[in-house]
């Protein structure tokens, strides 16, 4: 039973990593055609991507969106997680349902709805509208991440602080905040990654300045070049590095308590 389970898990993880392995393989293959047999090793595709000024500009736009989105959603997510799991909040169930709503609504429907709202208000599309739109869909993720750290904090620490005469604010600042720090960092990283890879909302809400994901999508519709493999590998590696760091931070916080 256990051996069969191991085999199945290996197969499923193989399935999860097969597409990624393929693009990695073809990103260093010399041939224009992405097919077997492999023809030789080259760094040509990476050089092409790194020398592409248009994609470089898109990358900077992505960063200009991802930094504020990550900061905003981490702060809001922390407030939401604290309200949900730490302090008694009125209308708790309703609040939790509201937080879940952006996750439940299909992205495209939310994007067109926001587009109508902005149009009615006379707000023109810009990076600010992208930041606002992305923040709403990333908020449920940061909330869950911060809450997963808060749940593990021992309540007795707060009771002890209160018994020793600490006010609500000082027990928050000196007990809760240090303990949730790792959760905040993990949430920031994950929000950054989610923001940089989001396509639908970015494409709908951006004006003239286009982020990397939008540029990649148009390239991908028109021509499938091996240099896209190289770009994909760079993005995946960057994201893996960030996610591994975030997960390491989050799990370290579990061990501290």
């Amino acid at each position: 039973m256990s051996r069969l389970g191991t085999l199945w898990v290996c197969l499923v993880f193989g399935f999860m990593y097969l597409p990624i392995a393929m693009i990695a393989l073809f990103s260093v293959n010399t041939s224009d055609v992405m097919a077997f047999p492999l023809t030789g090793v080259t760094g040509q595709w990476f050089a092409e991507i790194l020398g592409d000024g248009r994609l470089g500009g898109g990358f900077l736009t992505t960063l200009a969106v991802a930094f504020p989105v990550a900061l905003l959603t981490t702060l809001l997510g922390a407030a939401a997680a604290l309200a949900l799991s730490f302090y008694a909040t009125r209308f708790r169930v309703l609040f939790a349902a509201l937080l879940l709503l952006p996750f439940l609504v299909p992205r495209l429907i939310l994007a067109v709805a926001q587009l109508i709202l902005f149009k009615e208000l006379g707000v023109s599309r810009s990076l600010l509208t992208v930041i606002a739109g992305q923040s709403v869909i990333i908020l449920p993720f940061t909330t869950v991440i911060v809450a997963s750290v808060l749940i593990r904090i021992d309540r007795r620490l707060i009771e002890a602080a209160a018994d020793l005469g600490a006010s609500g604010w000082s027990s928050f600042r000196r007990v809760v905040l240090p303990l949730m720090g790792n959760g905040l960092m993990a949430a920031w990283v994950i929000a950054f990654v989610l923001s940089s890879s989001e396509y639908v909302l970015t494409a709908f809400l951006s004006g003239r300045q286009q982020a990397l994901s939008v540029l990649v999508a148009s390239d991908f519709r028109f021509d499938l070049s091996p240099s896209l493999n190289a770009l994909a590998v760079l993005i995946v590696l960057g994201n893996i590095a960030l996610v591994v760091i975030a997960e390491a931070i989050r799990h370290r916080s579990g061990r501290l308590n």
Binding site: V12, V105, I116, I190, V216, L224, A232
Partner: protein, 285 residues
């Protein structure tokens, strides 16, 4: 500060943000669904015309039904694939658990676009699977049906959302006490009965929660059918997109969007009731 008021003050900015950027847009969309298009302007006389059109149109009804059918299918497939994985992660993985969970989530963060791109490389007529099969002598000509078909769409959808199902099930398996299974075994229940009468009911909340997440995301997926489905890539979501773009019928688009939202909310409500009921069973066990 009393904890009660602290919580309310913390919730306030979050509610304000969600109200402005999620509730308000959806409310305006709802209002638009009662308007109509008059040549190139939008007439603000409210009517139920758009909803009547959806009810009468076989195309839209078909697209809506197909979206929910796909959602159910992919939820079922991910449940079958994910169930043993979740069991293994919770009960057998031991020290490797954290690493395996992280590994499971990593492909999620590469973004929809890149994952779809990778499947295109794999499934195309000139793609890796076809070329390897030809190279190995298994087939003579490339299999044409692989890419730009419902098959390609559903493979990629399963790939995209499997981790969500596994996480939902894993949480349920984590809280499953092995003592129940031992007790059932001691009382002489064979493996099949132990699964059907102990494991399955106790992990049902996770199964429903995971299934609901996968279902919702498949129904709302825009890019995957669009980029991998070919002619089958026309979905109700892409129809909404067209109505807001080239077809310029925002009111009809809004009405279809709200029909989808209403059905999704019903499904979610039903799912929440089921989860509560099955958790009561799990607690009572």
């Amino acid at each position: 500060m009393r904890p009660q008021s602290a919580g309310t003050w913390l919730a306030l900015p979050v509610v304000a943000a969600l109200g402005a950027l999620c509730l308000a847009p959806l409310a305006i969309l709802f209002a638009y669904s009662f308007f109509s298009v008059d040549f190139v302007t939008i007439s603000h006389d409210p009517s139920l015309k758009n909803y009547a059109r959806i009810l009468q149109s076989e195309t839209y009804r078909g697209l809506i039904a197909r979206a929910f059918g796909s959602g159910l299918l992919v939820a079922a497939i991910t449940a079958v694939i994910g169930y043993p994985v979740a069991w293994f992660l919770a009960k057998r993985a031991g020290a490797a658990k954290t690493m395996l969970l992280t590994l499971l989530l990593v492909p999620l963060y590469s973004g929809d676009l890149l994952r779809i791109f990778a499947w295109r490389v794999l499934l195309g007529a000139e793609g890796a699977i076809n070329r390897s099969l030809i190279w190995l002598g298994a087939i003579d000509a490339p299999l044409q049906g692989l890419l730009f078909s419902p098959l390609a769409t559903h493979i990629a959808l399963t790939y995209n959302y499997l981790p969500f199902m596994v996480i939902g099930l894993w949480l349920a398996f984590e809280s499953l006490d092995d003592a129940w299974l031992e007790a059932a075994a001691d009382l002489g229940a064979p493996g099949r009965d132990r699964f059907r009468r102990v494991t399955l009911p106790l992990t049902a909340p996770g199964l429903i929660a995971g299934g609901l997440m996968v279902f919702v995301m498949v129904v709302g997926d825009y890019l995957t059918p669009q980029l991998l489905g070919g002619a089958s890539g026309v979905t109700v979501i892409s129809a909404i997109n067209d109505l807001f773009g080239t077809a310029f019928d925002w009111p009809l688009g809004s009405a279809i969007a709200w029909t989808m939202l209403a059905i999704l909310m019903l499904c979610f409500g039903a799912g929440a009731v089921l989860i509560r009921r099955s958790s009561l069973v799990a607690e009572g066990a």
